[in-house]
Symmetry: C2
Subunit: 321 residues, 2 copies
């Protein structure tokens, strides 16, 4: 008796690249590059046109770079439907799995088609959490919080610290950087919504808070940083030390920026090549092998009242005229 | 610059074990054993009581064997809710991921809580497909088809063959075994629903049919069997040769019997230890490392209009008084 777990890349994958008001070529790359590494046969991308009906040239350049097979110019639920059910008139077959973040309508549509095909994770607003103490630079931390706030008022940006003096310094610095910021209106609206700085009693409480929250992005800039990092078990992507801003991971560190949100980092990690294939269980059983497990199979089948399951083993050992 | 993918077992997992009219200790084991192998902290199991309010002793024995931490005596959507949101009054915390098959109400509830916690796959009715030619034994094949039919009229049991004589022999044998079967009423209702034997033009067409259908269970009993198996890319669990009945995999071959249904075998495999942990991305970036990727990060951030993302890198290199 032998059991093989055979890895097989998916035949067809659909990647949603959000867009409309802006274009995100980096999201297209994050969805397609691991597909190419895994050996996926056909990669379909869907992304909406801009207000003038055009497509961002950088986005198209990125699509060409990774040799996207089919590009569907549509966004929202209709794009998800087109990939999940295919476009038979155009010769586009249904995809096996849908990946990539999107707005709440895209996410709702993905949950609706889950079962028709596989999906990655329901995406919520992006989040960043910074755990820092007095050894961190308030200028860096304020800039990191503002870079998350740029995603809009639904995107939480939290500083967790046990150092009240440091917290005050970050607050001052936030005001200073905000005054000079390019997209001040968006940033101010974002920061106005909800708590920004969480003062905890100490290092242990900070670790507990992080693990309970399970943030998508987590920056850690504290004394004895590796000791803290080793105790952090729930986060999508961890950025260690003063020179690891989240934006490095968004674009160029080599990590994937499609990450679990809304606490899903408790159970899931970043999008990766594993999401582009599956293991097939292959069981090869000889007559002797089946004879060896026969009693177990028949006993459990009997206990579960599945008599025909038991019979399927018995008939293989019955003498026939 | 260094990127680590750190494996972390989940802290809390919920396993649904279907029941009510019958008990399935094997499903409990299939859900809990990989959790124990992966090193999950707390395992919560939910399963409904029988009509008299009691619990099957074999099920409880299985739960004890794998040291289940919390046993919730409830079935259906309320059981899923209890595990996803926790039972604070009883000190039961929400689980990080829910696994295990269930009826349509259980599946609907799992999709509803997806996002609050992770889930495995939406489960549909169980399926078996047998690909066989004249080298197979009609007695074995008929018994395998009947063992699937035992799951009820929604569970497809299909024979795919290009040998009309063999197909006829299986049909005769099905009638014979049915007449002697223990649960004849259920089996007859199941077999009455939908096509049972699919005659295809030849071996290649059979392979194409299997890969398009992507069955949960696939038995292959043909001449030159390994050549055929190598070309089958979509199936949850593959049973190779005359002595590998599906019931062996259900109970004792060492494979997991929680499998993708309804075509999801195109994108997913069996439940396994990988479902009980996640990879955390850990990025350690030095000043030199960030300097090396700085241009890439700033260019893409600029192209995507995310200026605060660009600033988060720039501030780290600006001279300050």
């Amino acid at each position: 008796m032998e059991i093989e777990r055979r890895w097989a890349p998916l035949a067809r994958v659909g990647v949603y690249a959000p867009g409309g008001s802006a274009a995100y070529p980096s999201s297209l790359l994050m969805g397609v590059v691991p597909a190419r590494v895994a050996g996926v046969g056909t990669v379909v991308v869907a992304s909406p046109a801009d207000a003038e009906g055009g497509l961002n040239q950088t986005l198209l350049g990125a699509a060409a770079l990774v040799a996207v097979d089919v590009f569907i110019v549509a966004g929202g639920a209709q794009a998800i439907g087109a990939m999940a059910y295919g476009l038979p008139v155009l010769g586009v077959a249904p995809v096996d799995r849908l990946v990539g973040p999107g707005n709440p309508w895209v996410t709702a549509a993905k949950l609706e088609v889950f079962g028709e095909c596989g999906i990655d994770l329901p995406a919520g607003p992006s989040e960043v959490m910074v755990v820092a103490d007095g050894t961190a630079d308030p200028v860096h931390v304020a800039a990191d919080l503002l870079s998350q706030a740029e995603h809009g008022p639904d995107s939480p940006a939290l500083l967790v610290t046990w150092d009240a003096v440091f917290a005050a310094a970050v607050e001052v610095e936030l005001g200073r950087q905000l005054a000079a910021a390019a997209r001040r209106d968006i940033l101010e609206r974002s920061l106005a919504k909800g708590a920004l700085i969480v003062l905890v009693p100490g290092r242990d409480a900070a670790v507990g808070f992080v693990n309970a929250y399970a943030p998508e992005h987590l920056s850690v800039v504290v004394d004895d940083v590796e000791e803290a990092v080793a105790r952090l078990s729930n986060a999508g992507s961890l950025f260690v030390g003063p020179y690891a801003p989240e934006s490095a991971g968004d674009y160029a560190s080599g990590a994937n920026h499609v990450l679990p949100t809304g606490g899903l980092a408790r159970s899931c990690g970043a999008l990766s090549t594993e999401d582009y294939g599956k293991f097939i269980q292959v069981q090869r059983i000889s007559r002797e092998g089946l004879a060896a497990i026969r009693d177990s199979v028949e006993s459990i089948a009997q206990a579960e009242g599945l008599i025909a399951h038991k019979r399927a083993v018995e008939v293989r050992f019955e003498a026939r005229p």
